[in-house]
Symmetry: C2
Subunit: 209 residues, 2 copies
């Protein structure tokens, strides 16, 4: 017999499922940021998130699906913490500066205990083809395009010198992040500061005025 309460209870189940997923992803993202996506085990996740292993399997499927959901969750976290606020700045150069500075703050504050998730996953999966690597490559490509696009816009608006090579500049800024992510977590504060200063100097050197 179909009762009128069924849609409500189905909605209730979905809300509870979404909440459980989100709560598990908070833990999986933190664990994987330190141990790597491959070091994320369902046993440890179940213990830290205080849920049954069976629940994790019902909510996420197999290990690779959990890894992919964890990667998406880390990217979403970074978007909300750094990208969205940076893109509210009133000009392309200010947006670029906010993105660069936001990255260093994200890592410095250990928003995730292992620092920048995409840098870590890029290293972990660089030589291991598959769906995770494909997804990581897509996020890397987005980050590169975001930088290049803002540099091009800043040139058009006269904020950056017209002869700035957006491909080289974007590469350099991302290379400093790659080095800084390791330095920060290794406790090498001098090198983290060098990376931050190199990024700021690079941007200052290409400003139009």
């Amino acid at each position: 017999m179909i009762t009128t309460s069924e849609p409500d209870s189905r909605d209730g189940r979905r809300v509870r499922g979404d909440r459980a997923r989100a709560q598990i992803l908070t833990h999986s993202t933190a664990i994987a940021s330190v141990e790597g996506l491959d070091g994320l085990t369902i046993g440890r996740l179940a213990a830290e998130a205080n849920v049954g292993k069976g629940n994790i399997q019902v909510l996420f499927g197999d290990k690779e699906s959990l890894q992919l959901a964890t990667l998406r969750s880390a990217v979403d976290l970074y978007r909300v913490a750094v990208i969205d606020p940076a893109l509210t700045q009133p000009s392309p150069l200010l947006q670029l500066q906010a993105l660069v500075e936001g990255w260093f703050e994200f890592v410095e504050k250990r928003t995730l205990p292992g620092g920048c998730f995409i840098n870590a996953a890029s290293n972990e999966y660089r030589a291991r083809p598959g769906r995770i690597r494909d997804q990581v490559k897509e996020h890397r490509s987005e980050a590169r395009s975001r930088f290049r696009g803002l540099i091009v816009k800043a040139k058009k608006l006269g904020e950056l010198r017209p002869n700035v090579d957006e491909t080289c500049l974007a590469f350099e800024l991302l290379a400093y992040q790659s080095a800084a992510n390791v330095a920060a977590l290794m406790g090498d504060e001098e090198e983290f500061l060098l990376a931050r200063q190199a990024s700021q100097q690079r941007l200052a050197a290409v400003r139009a005025n």
Copy 2:
């Protein structure tokens, strides 16, 4: 009863042991360069090196000892392939250029299937304190000192401009390697080339003449 043949047989055992260790390390270094030091399992190593698991335990001890021996083996391989030849160059600037170019060749040729071992291990262990991270930090520090020392010598000899900051330049060169190691293994040839060119341009920009 002690016979005169005993020292010989003991030597023979040692030679065989050294040979077996070296053969196993060739495999462990290749595996760990792709899968990470944490992804190095005694089972897979035994299968690929075609030796018994028990032999590996007798020759190396526990997993961490095997990981540390693998790290040392990768560092030795790099020393023989890149550092020693570069340091035969007749001047500090030429040595520096040979070290930089040697790194790109080492990775490009896949001397190890996963590229630069220290960059990979730096990322893998950046947030995991312990003996492996301590060892990785020491190798990172050596690489930095080697670069800085050569830059200082090249300044004194008038090969590089006297106002070059050796700390910043060494940081930048190592940051480009960090980015290039991921790019190479991800099949991103454009970015690998950008890193190589950025390194060469950086050195060209600070030459004295």
